[in-house]
Point group: C2
Chain length 245, copies 2
């Protein structure tokens, strides 16, 4: 099977390298300065679209432009799989913009170069047959399960609802604590070290990913309101219980 | 050496059990329903004050009452060591309320039954010679270092400044996220699991400890303002970068 990866940002580069352990992988990036991982062959966009499956790894906010660009090149029966951290918006875009002869998978490998530093064992990946890709989904399900990933089938709506209150809140907390300028200290407790790890892990990702996860998931607005309300409630509770020491 | 522990709440009970591995430990609690850990002998308050060192483990907000109660019983040369999670307020109270013939240590073992589940190796403990206890501090320093704790000497002011932005922010985040009702989910990422661990670890402690850590540390007010400002700034940044998906 010929496997292609479109986009060589932080995640795309990681994903191309991961797939290249088992497959011949070609890759394309709009930015010529992006390095291609060892074992992956850089090709032009037309050659990229010769592959049996094309994994899309652009910024979420670039999906619309990318899909319009590849739509005329997509071949009948070819599988196009996105890997975006939100699922409703890119799924709608793929259904609208890609020709009906393309088979579509909506996926979300919920890890990256940091969390998969020691391998992908036990890490979650969400798969969804968006259009005519039942057989291909079953094949990749088997493949990823064989790599010990935790494979989950969720609809884009189920994914986004759950992701807002898991990944979404995690990245928001990481960015807020980073803004506070928290630093290590000799008296750091275990709990505090967990927070420092969290800051590092979330802030290693591009800021654009944070923005896109918050903006392109329809459920993160409610999550942010909830977080704000919980902070207010907790601070008020502190006020009303009085200080007095 | 006869070692005593006053207070058998969550931390006091843990601390008495820990010390009983190396010492003969007596304990006293105002609440008769508190269980005494195995290997620790429950005694009356007068007998408790026969020990060479008395570790005080009450709620921070009970320190004033406890100190007034034991003051007439404290013997010349006896060491009184508090273990409160804040240090300025209890240090001032001990200096004011305990007779000048008592030697005083201000300490903060920065762990508890959860974080020390697998032992105290590498966990931080803060020690300070508050009055006439240089020799005793050196002795306990050696003792705890022998147990592989990370022993740190900090003044109460240094401790409270650092604790506000380490332990203080950690417990505040834990309480806020708990208020949000976050729960586990099959798509939980590694980062999100860290947050769930944090909620559990901070919310296992009594709510009173949370209140006291926030109220009795003069530097936590600024920390809470910083957290609020960072959340506002991050949310505003999201607003001004626009959604548009």
């Amino acid at each position: 099977m010929r496997v292609a990866v479109l986009g060589l940002g932080r995640f795309g580069s990681f994903w191309a390298r991961h797939l290249s352990r088992d497959f011949e992988v070609t890759a394309w990036s709009r930015s010529p300065e992006r390095e291609v991982p060892e074992g992956v062959r850089r090709v032009g966009l037309e050659e990229l679209l010769q592959a049996d499956i094309v994994w899309l790894c652009p910024a979420i906010s670039s999906m619309d432009a990318v899909l319009r660009e590849i739509a005329p090149l997509v071949r009948p029966g070819q599988v196009i799989a996105d890997t975006c951290s939100v699922k409703l918006v890119p799924s709608r875009q793929m259904l609208e913009l890609l020709p009906p002869h393309a088979k579509l998978l909506a996926t979300h490998p919920m890890f990256g170069p940091d969390s998969a530093r020691n391998g992908v064992q036990g890490l979650p990946i969400v798969l969804h047959n968006l259009r005519d890709a039942a057989k291909e989904l079953a094949w990749w399900r088997e493949c990823f399960a064989g790599q010990q990933m935790r494979v989950l089938e969720l609809t884009p709506d189920e994914h986004d609802r759950a992701a807002a209150y898991t990944q979404g809140v995690t990245h928001l907390i990481g960015r807020v604590l980073s803004d506070m300028g928290l630093a290590d200290h000799p008296i750091a407790t275990q709990g505090y070290k967990r927070l420092l790890d969290l800051i590092q892990q979330t802030c290693n990702d591009p800021f654009q990913l944070f923005l896109d996860m918050q903006h392109a998931n329809p459920y993160t607005g409610a999550m942010r309101d909830d977080l704000k309300a919980s902070l207010e409630r907790t601070l008020n509770r502190l006020d009303t219980t009085g200080g007095g020491q």
